[in-house]
Symmetry: C2
Subunit: 213 residues, 2 copies
Amino acid sequence: MKPVSILTLRRLSQYLQIILEAQKNKQEYISATSLANHTGVHRTQVRKDLASTGVVGVPKVGHKVNELALAISDFLNWNDSSEAFIVGAGNLGSAIMGYREIFETKGMKILAAFDTNPILIDTKIHDVPVFAMEKFSNLAQRLHVHIGIVTVPPEAAQSVADMMLASGIMAIWNFAPVQLVVPENIIVENVDLYASLAVLSQRLAVKLMKQSE
Amino acid sequence: MKPVSILTLRRLSQYLQIILEAQKNKQEYISATSLANHTGVHRTQVRKDLASTGVVGVPKVGHKVNELALAISDFLNWNDSSEAFIVGAGNLGSAIMGYREIFETKGMKILAAFDTNPILIDTKIHDVPVFAMEKFSNLAQRLHVHIGIVTVPPEAAQSVADMMLASGIMAIWNFAPVQLVVPENIIVENVDLYASLAVLSQRLAVKLMKQSE
DNA sequence: TTCATATCGATAATAATCTATCGAAAATGA
DNA sequence: TCATTTTCGATAGATTATTATCGATATGAA
C-alpha cells in the first residue's frame, strides 16, 4: 500500500460526504463522474483517489454506494474508534465538543476535556467531563489515549503539546495558530483559521480591485 | 501582479504569525532562512513566497521585521477592514465570535450574527448582536457587507449561501462540511473539519499499523 | 584590505499533481 | 444481434509546485 497524499485524503472525505448523502436517498450506485460534478474535482482525479482505497467499479454503472462508503470509511480508519482528549474548554473547545457525536461516527471519541480554569473543572460541556490539567497525563496513559486536541490560546499551545507528548499522545489535532515543534514521528494536523482567512481576504481584495478597474 | 497560489497565501499567513512574534520581541531583522526553519518550508520556497508580495531583502541580513510584517499584511488585505455577517450562532458560530477581536486585527470585522433560534435573537454573543434571519438581506445591502460566514448545520448551508448571494455577499467563509454550489465569480473558502480529521486518522492508522508490524 | 560566511534573488532541475486520451466492459435500445 | 453510450482503469502528457544551484552582495573578522 503506497502512501497517499494529503490532498487525496481530504478529497476522499469530501466524496464520502456526498456518498453518505446518496446512501440516505437510497441510491444504489454512484459514479466517479457524478462525484466529480459534485466536487469540481476532475473525474480522472476522482478515479485515482478512489483507486487508492482499493475499490473497483463497474463500467457504465459506477460503484455500489454502500460498498464505496464502507471502503472509504475503512481507508480513513473511521470504522475503528480512537480515543481523544481535548485541552482547552473555551469557545472553540466547547464548539468541538458540541460535535462530539458526529466525530464519533468518524472514528474519534472525545473522552474528556482539560482546562486550567477552575470554574470549568469538574463540570461537563456537551456531556464531556472537564478535568484539571494535572490529570491529563495519568488518565491518558491509563486509558491509552492516542489523540490530543489543542484548543488553547496560541501562547499556551506549545507547552500543552509538550505535555501531551510526554503523556504518550501520538497525534495532535491543533487548532491554535502556531507551528508546533514536535519529534518527526508525531502526527500533527493543523486547522489554521488564519491561513483560511488569508486566502479569503486576499482573493476578495483582488476581486474587488478588478471590479473597480 | 500575477495571481498567487492558495498554498502561497496559506504559508504567508504562517510566516506573518512568526514575524509578528519576532516583532513583539523587538527583533529588527528576520531572514527567509529562519522562517524556513520555523515552518519546515524550504528556504527557497519561502523566498519565492515573500517575493510575490513584492518585498526585497538585504543579503546577509534578511528583511526588516516591521516592513515585512506590513508587506504581508497589505498583501493579504489585512490592513483594510472588511465587514462580515455570520449566520449560525450555535457552538461554532459563538466560538468564532469569540475571536472577533483577533479577526479584526486581520481585517475582518464581524458586525452581526443571524440565527433562526428565537432564544438567541436580539441577544448578544461575545458583543456581537444576533438578529433574525429575515433581517440579513436588508442589513447586508444597507451596510455593504461583502463577507458571509456560514456556521449552520450542513443541511441548512446551501440555502443560507443562496440567501447570502441574493443579498449581495461576494465571499463566503464556509464552516459547514458541504460543497456549496455558487456562481463562479463568488469566492468560497471552506474550513472542512472532516477533511482535516480524515488526514489525522488515516495517518495515525498507518502509523499504528507500522508499529505493530 | 582581504577573506569567510550568510543571505538574497534568479534560474534550472526535479518531483508531484492534475488533465487528457484510449481501449475495454457493461448496459441500453434499435 | 449489433451499434451506441457511459463508465472504468491505465497510461501518457501537461501543468504546477518544490528543491537545488549559482552568482552577487552585505557583514564581520583576520
